[in-house]
């Protein structure tokens, strides 16, 4: 393992210090070293909080910023933040209108958010949640509540964050964030495993010449291990898992997010996106807006995740709203 580290146990703290030095205009430290807060938040707005384990850059701190998330709780690598960190993030962002906690469906995060909400209740702070469960490979459609969160979390933050920035109430923010989740479906494909710095060796295996369809963000096994495919075949395989799930239909308008898992060259993401776009076009599904890049990674895994969100007029307006963060900055349309 040849990696850029000091003591592997300090990687999260040192990464956060570096992050804050580089993005001082967008994000700032709080009293809790594991909570990062946006520098600018409109007065009186509903607080938007997320959090999760480290190793997914830009997620989660990379989406702290104007028009997105007001604070993120940061955990160890692939490990949920503490309940205390979620609670501190709630306190940091509440301006009296309550807090929307928008996070991914993992048992540790569910547990710590639940405990943090209990702490919040004791001090009279209102917190409501939306849990992203967009990963179609992790459970059948009739057990959606069991599905894990994928890169679709980014659409949840974008939509919920835009509503909060526009002055939406807590219930309105929760409603649109939940709508975004309901409309969003993701699937991953893994080509090589990843290594936790403090462990020093990969903790799962992807054999040479094979790829894992439906792999999770921490290497959770997917639906199928298949021989390595061309970008063309890969796009077909991924869309075959996503499109019937909603189901997406001819004349639908969608937002597409194609994220690398960390080590795949961005050039290759565009090769895959080209195939995805062609196939969606063939089915008469129109891409309204798309995102290609490293938006939600898994350390140095090779592979990609594909996320498709079905749009309506309300979601389009919120998707197009301005935002500014390390992971996603866009100007209004």
């Amino acid at each position: 393992m040849q990696r850029i580290l000091n003591n592997p146990d300090d990687v999260v703290d040192e990464m956060l210090q570096g992050f804050l030095k580089n993005h001082a205009d967008i994000a700032m430290a709080t009293g809790n070293p594991r909570v990062v807060q946006a520098r600018k938040a409109a007065a009186g707005k509903v607080g938007v909080v997320t959090g999760g384990g480290s190793g997914h850059k830009p997620a989660f701190v990379g989406y702290v910023g104007r028009g997105l998330v007001d604070a993120a709780a940061v955990g160890e690598i692939f490990t949920s933040p503490t309940a205390k960190s979620f609670f501190d993030a709630f306190k940091a962002t509440d301006q009296g209108g309550g807090v929307a906690c928008l996070f991914g469906n993992y048992s540790g995060d569910n547990m710590n958010v639940k405990l943090a909400i209990r702490m919040a209740e004791k001090v009279g702070l209102t917190v409501k949640t939306v849990v992203a469960n967009d990963d179609v490979a992790s459970s059948p459609a009739d057990q959606r509540e069991k599905r894990r969160g994928g890169a679709g979390e980014i659409f949840m933050w974008k939509i919920g964050g835009a509503k909060a920035a526009a002055g939406g109430s807590l219930d309105e923010v929760i409603r649109v964030a939940q709508k975004a989740v309901n409309h969003t479906h993701s699937v991953g494909v893994g080509l090589s495993p990843c290594t936790l710095p403090a462990v020093g060796h990969p903790n799962f295996e992807i054999k040479d010449g094979t790829m894992e369809l439906g792999i999770g963000h921490h290497g959770e096994p997917g639906v199928e291990i298949v021989p390595m495919e061309t970008a063309d075949q890969m796009a077909t395989h991924m869309l075959n898992l996503i499109l019937p799930d909603h189901p997406f239909q001819e004349n639908d308008e969608v937002a597409v997010l194609l994220s690398g898992l960390g080590a795949t060259p961005i050039m290759e993401l565009y090769v895959l996106f080209n195939e995805v776009a062609k196939k969606l076009n063939d089915k008469g599904i129109r891409i309204y807006r798309s995102y290609v890049g490293n938006y939600f990674t898994s350390l140095e895994m090779m592979g990609a995740t594909l996320t498709v969100m079905k749009l309506d007029d309300e979601l389009k307006i919120l998707l197009d709203a301005e935002c500014e963060s390390m992971g996603l900055t866009q100007f209004g349309r």
Partner: protein, 213 residues
Amino acid sequence: MDGFANAAGKSIVMKMIAEIQANKVYLSDIDGLIGDGDHGMNMNKGFTLCKERLGRNALTFTESLAALGDILFNEIGGSMGPIYGMIFIEMAEYAAKETVITAHVFAGMLDAGFNGLGDIVQARVGDKTLIDTFVPARDAFAEATASGLDFVCALQKFKLSSENGMLSTKDLVSRFGRSSRLGERSRGVLDAGAVSCNLIFQAMADEMINLIK
């Protein structure tokens, strides 16, 4: 006196800490087979932090246990931070006012710890989690006490059932937590949480037996 002085029980928590430290790599390796391989490191981090905080302070068993619970709960995160944090905090709180820890008090502590856990986790016996260690151990202890066995004998039963409960997870298919997504592929491997729970229970019971004698 069938029991031990709460004031003398800090050594129980120190023994639990030593046991987790000694098995850091073993726990991570087991976790790596069907989980994400961080269980040993996270547990070691929390328990070691507790050892540093407890230091040479003269603390009771329940004060030490509460301190361990607080650190795990507030500073470790993941699933195991709140799970073990909740268990130890609730166990400590139940017996905080006791000067002597009797078999009856310890049975109550186990119930309180389990109820605290049930508050945040939906897993049941058979789901391949630490509950497969916890419940048989707790039940064996309660049964032994009810049938008139003394504290030390009841702790022996507790140890045996804890070990067997831990071993039972090997043939189970995971239905809770990250490994549950493996389905059949999780069979044949011990659950890391069940293993750490057994290590903790063995250390706890061994030192209690020392103190009672």
